[in-house]
């Protein structure tokens, strides 16, 4: 088996000096793929993703990006390596305009960012109309678009989303998922934590079901949806 593009391999660790939250947990994603982490509350879904992004201490296991060991890099350094992270909350600059939010996303870039910005406006046309408006004045779904747009401004190879559909309506959720598929088609790896397991697994190339910080089921999204055990325990029958 070839090594995946990004892999958090057998990660064990927790926040600071606290107890371990993850136990031998493995998460991986390939270019153009969507990997989804699902599981019950408190299963360590977000924690697993934050571990991949370097926001907690892993004392066993490793994280590798394109074959390169990045276990001990800070989140900021991982951004420079081509990873982008959209936190679940406070993921936009509310007092800045939409356009300034995108500019700040591209802060590390020294080249012309206008092409990327146009691409993001093409992906989320509503943001083009609201580009001079303060991001804090937008609706929940539009804010999530700004958040994803800001992360995409670095032209990342991996986009990590922590519950992108939390608190938005079902229609907006479908719309967001469509956009995420579109981003993946451009060859970007997507790693996503989702509360809406059924919908998320429908678009997932890989699904990870975590329970108590460990992998319980790992398969393609479709296979997990068809698995009677998974359906019974996690998807409500």
């Amino acid at each position: 088996m070839t090594e995946p593009f990004l892999i958090g391999d057998a990660m064990t660790g927790g926040y600071g000096r606290g107890a371990d939250i993850l136990h031998d947990c493995t998460i991986a994603v390939n270019p153009g793929e969507i990997a989804v982490i699902v599981g019950p509350n408190g299963a360590g879904k977000s924690t697993a993703m934050k571990a991949v992004f370097g926001m907690l201490n892993i004392h066993k296991g490793s994280v590798r990006l394109d074959g390169e060991e990045i276990t001990h890099l800070s989140p900021q350094d991982r951004v420079a390596k081509g990873m982008a992270f959209v936190p679940q909350t406070s993921n936009i600059f509310t007092s800045l305009t939409v356009e300034e939010n995108l500019e700040m996303g591209a802060f590390l870039r020294r080249d012309d960012i206008r092409v990327t910005m146009e691409q993001i406006y093409d992906l989320f046309p509503i943001l083009r109309d609201k580009r001079k408006q303060a991001a804090g004045e937008l609706s929940g779904g539009q804010r999530q678009q700004v958040a994803v747009g800001r992360a995409l401004m670095t032209q990342p190879k991996v986009l990590m989303l922590d519950e992108p559909t939390a608190g938005v309506s079902p229609i907006v959720m479908d719309e967001l998922f469509d956009r995420i598929i579109e981003v993946a088609r451009k060859g970007i790896s997507i790693l996503m934590v989702e509360q809406n397991a059924r919908q998320a697994l429908q678009i997932a190339d890989r699904g990870y079901v975590l329970v108590q910080g460990a992998n319980r089921f790992t398969d393609t999204g479709a296979a997990l949806l068809a698995d009677p055990d998974v359906r019974k325990s996690f998807l409500g029958g």
Binding site: Q76, F93, M104, F107
Partner: protein
């Protein structure tokens, strides 16, 4: 009609123009406080003495220039010296940050600890200023004293009341407008300025976007040095320079920043003028103005001074309390204290 004009002139002479100049000085001071609050996330009690330090260096350089015979003609020589005051203040603030604040930042100290730390810095700076220039009054203004004097105004208009417009007041207002315009251009149009606003808005996300926190902090201190030294020098030029006055200025400056909404630059400016106008209007005896406006029968036989000037700080304090009670985030939406 003439009575109305006379009333207006008296009011302008004793209230509007002085309050406009004082408000500009407070606004510049409050902008510094509000920037530090927004980006470094603490209330900097050393700000008044930072202003005193900037003013002191400006005075020393002014004296040097006056000794060399350099002057600006009708304008005060101090204008030439302000850039040196700013540079020295920048060095002082960056050194303080390096020696003191950086340590507490790395410890991720709570804001209240940083406030106490800034009080310590305040005492040190205050001592430094008094050690170098002494605790006494210093005068350093030269050049033309008035843009228009009361006598000239009377002759010009034929009104019985005079209007004096001091050069220092004019310079204060013009400088404040220029400084504020540059500051807002910087914050809203430049990459570094926007990154400062982003850092103030959401520190974690700013870090995720690759904004360098050390650089933001450094640029903030540089801007604060510019604002503090300018405000301090203008205040000293307009009134007079006395180290302890700057310690007392801290209250109206903080009141201005809080009234406008801490962390909000626009609010700091509005707050500065609200405090200045309230303070001047409430402590000014309105007898003369009312004498012109009201019919003779109603002419007040007291001074109609709502509060003695000795109590002028009570005005800032009262406004501060009212705002904190009813609108803790200030007139413009800032962070709550």
């Amino acid at each position: 009609m003439i009575d109305l004009l006379n009333a207006l002139v008296v009011l302008s002479n004793y209230v509007l123009i002085p309050a406009l100049a004082y408000g500009s000085q407070l606004a510049l001071g409050a902008l510094g406080v509000t920037l530090i609050y927004g980006i470094l996330r603490f209330s900097n009690f050393a700000h008044g003495d930072t202003m005193a330090f900037g003013a002191m260096v400006t005075i020393l350089v002014t004296w040097l220039f006056q000794g060399w015979g350099i002057s600006l003609g009708p304008l005060p020589t101090a204008l030439l010296a302000i850039p040196f005051g700013i540079a020295a203040t920048a060095v002082l603030l960056l050194t303080t940050d390096r020696l003191v604040y950086r340590f507490y930042r790395q410890q991720k100290a709570a804001p209240v600890i940083l406030v106490i730390v800034s009080m310590g810095v305040m005492f040190v700076m205050n001592g430094l200023v008094r050690f170098i220039i002494g605790p006494n009054d210093q005068r350093f203004s030269d050049g033309e004293r008035f843009i228009i004097s009361a006598r000239e105004f009377k002759k010009l208009t034929g009104l019985s009341e005079g209007l004096a417009f001091k050069t220092t007041q004019g310079i204060t207002i013009v400088t404040a407008v220029i400084v504020v315009a540059i500051l807002f251009w910087f914050l809203n149009r430049t990459r570094t300025g926007k990154s400062m606003r982003a850092f103030s808005d959401n520190e974690d996300l700013a870090l995720l976007s690759g904004i360098n926190p050390d650089r933001v902090v450094m640029v903030t201190w540089l801007i604060v040095a510019g604002l503090a030294a300018t405000a301090g020098a203008l205040y000293g030029l307009d009134k007079s320079f006395k180290p302890f006055i700057y310690l007392q200025l801290l209250l109206p400056i903080f009141a201005a920043a809080v009234v406008g909404g801490l962390g909000n630059p626009l609010g700091a400016i509005a707050g500065g003028f609200v405090i200045a106008f309230s303070e001047v209007l409430i402590t000014y005896p309105l007898k003369k103005v009312l004498g012109y406006l009201l019919p003779d029968r109603f002419e007040p036989n007291t001074l109609v001074q709502l509060l003695s000037t000795d109590y002028k700080f009570a005005v800032s304090f009262t406004i501060l309390i009212i705002v904190l009670l009813f609108r803790p985030t200030g007139l413009f939406k800032g962070k709550s204290v």
